[in-house]
């Protein structure tokens, strides 16, 4: 990844963090708010492969961990795993498929929240498995499907800096050598 692309990713993560704590946090359904964090590694991995997805997941998770009351590093751990798994699982799929991003956002968002809660409990935060999972999954699933398109647009802007990489991103994400 070029320095310019890396700087753009940092900017996108920052914008997402500000959006999460200002505009998205007050939107609560059944006490649950949408979560934009997991969409960063999901879109990053779909655009540039599992390695880039894992790195974006790690750094964006770490940035969000700075303002979350949960254990520091937990979002980074889940974000890394999410980016890697989503990138690996979708490598054989045509990146231009219309259904890919909404489905990846739905499955990835719910799966990441589940992993986050379970790992939190493993690290001694028992309250993390005492939430209403049905409401949580419903809100996160629907909001992720809605929010994935604007987040994907931002991530595409960040990752596809050079015009000659555009074709690589859409056709061969893992071979693009963005890192």
């Amino acid at each position: 990844m070029s320095t310019r692309a890396a700087l753009r990713v940092v900017l996108v993560v920052f914008v997402a963090l500000v959006a999460q704590s200002t505009v998205i946090l007050p939107v609560r359904i059944g006490g649950v708010h949408p979560d934009i964090l997991w969409l960063l590694p999901i879109t990053g991995s779909l655009l540039a492969g599992p390695e880039t997805g894992a790195l974006i997941g790690f750094w964006s998770g770490l940035a969000f961990d700075l303002v979350l009351p949960t254990p520091f590093g937990l979002s980074a751990l889940v974000g890394s795993a999410l980016g890697y798994v989503m990138g690996s699982a979708t490598q054989a799929v045509d990146n231009r498929a219309v259904w890919l991003r909404p489905v990846a956002a739905l499955v990835g968002g719910v799966g990441a929240d589940m992993l986050f809660a379970v790992l939190g409990a493993v690290f001694g935060q028992q309250q993390m498995v005492q939430v209403n999972f049905l409401t949580l999954f419903a809100v996160v699933a629907v909001s992720s499907v809605i929010l994935v398109l604007p987040v994907n647009r931002l991530m595409r802007w960040a990752l596809v800096v050079d015009s000659n990489r555009r074709s690589l991103v859409s056709a061969q994400p893992a071979e693009s050598g963005l890192w």
Binding site: L17, V18, S21, T22, V23, L25, P26, V27, R28, I29, G31, V32, H33, D35, G49, P50, E51, A54, L55, G57, F58, G61, L62, L66, V67, L68, P69, T70, P71, F72, G73, L74, A76, L77, S80, A81, Y84, D113, F116, A117, G120, F123, G124, Q125, Q126, Q127, M128, Q130, V131, N132, L136, V140, A174, E175
Partner: protein, 276 residues
Amino acid sequence: MPKPRRSRRTLTLVVLVVVSLSVISLDLNGRTHQLTSGVKSVANSIFSPLRSGVVDILSPIGNFLAGAVHYGSLQAENEKLRATVGQLRTEQAEKGYEKTQLRALTSLENLPFLGSLPAVTAQTQEVSTSNFTMTITIGKGRADGVDVGMPVVGAGGLVGQVIQSFHHTAVVQLITDGESKVAVVFGNNITGTVDGQGPAHDMSADLVPPQTPLHNGEIMFSSSLNGASLPPGIPVARVNSFRTSAGASQATISVTPEADMSHLEYVNVVLWEPPA
């Protein structure tokens, strides 16, 4: 796909997982927690003013989105409001935003259970930044004397305890959070603990012997026994229902917070630290 490429990818993931686990270990270890807490504190000092500025600019958008999500309930509420608008006009002078704010603040004045304990009033900035914890972020921090472990009270009683303190902000774990446990005393010096059960369940009182004389509405107060982490006498919860199952080692007691947890715009942080 070439094997070296796949190996590099796997190596990247392994490195990221190891680094993440190391960071978590540093955070959860009592001796090294100061390090991660310091990093968070610096980040919060930078981010909080920025966030406040953005909130001032973007709050109309947030309100619009929240309104869109709750459209149905807002419509019903709107009907009710229209019916009472005439009555409200006569009380207009009392219904201004400033007066509401003032009422919220004055409800925190002279809380009888605080006695002579010093307290600072703080405005709530954020409610539950994570879907997995029940916390509030308040606009007072170490610079105002607020430190980890200090009790936080609202109108009615205990709201929670400070779990993270930064320079100008602090995070308060609410008593309804699943991780919260408060030592209480009630009735004829009967002791127990009030445990938060998260947003999905009512709070419960534990470690109360079976057949303990109780009545609905009984108030449980913070206890000073066993090196308690709270000053004694703060109302914590009120008994909602109770029963003792056959052969049970303790009573099953459902309680509700004594403080009004739905109005936490302002809270008082009691500047009290447990005795060494």
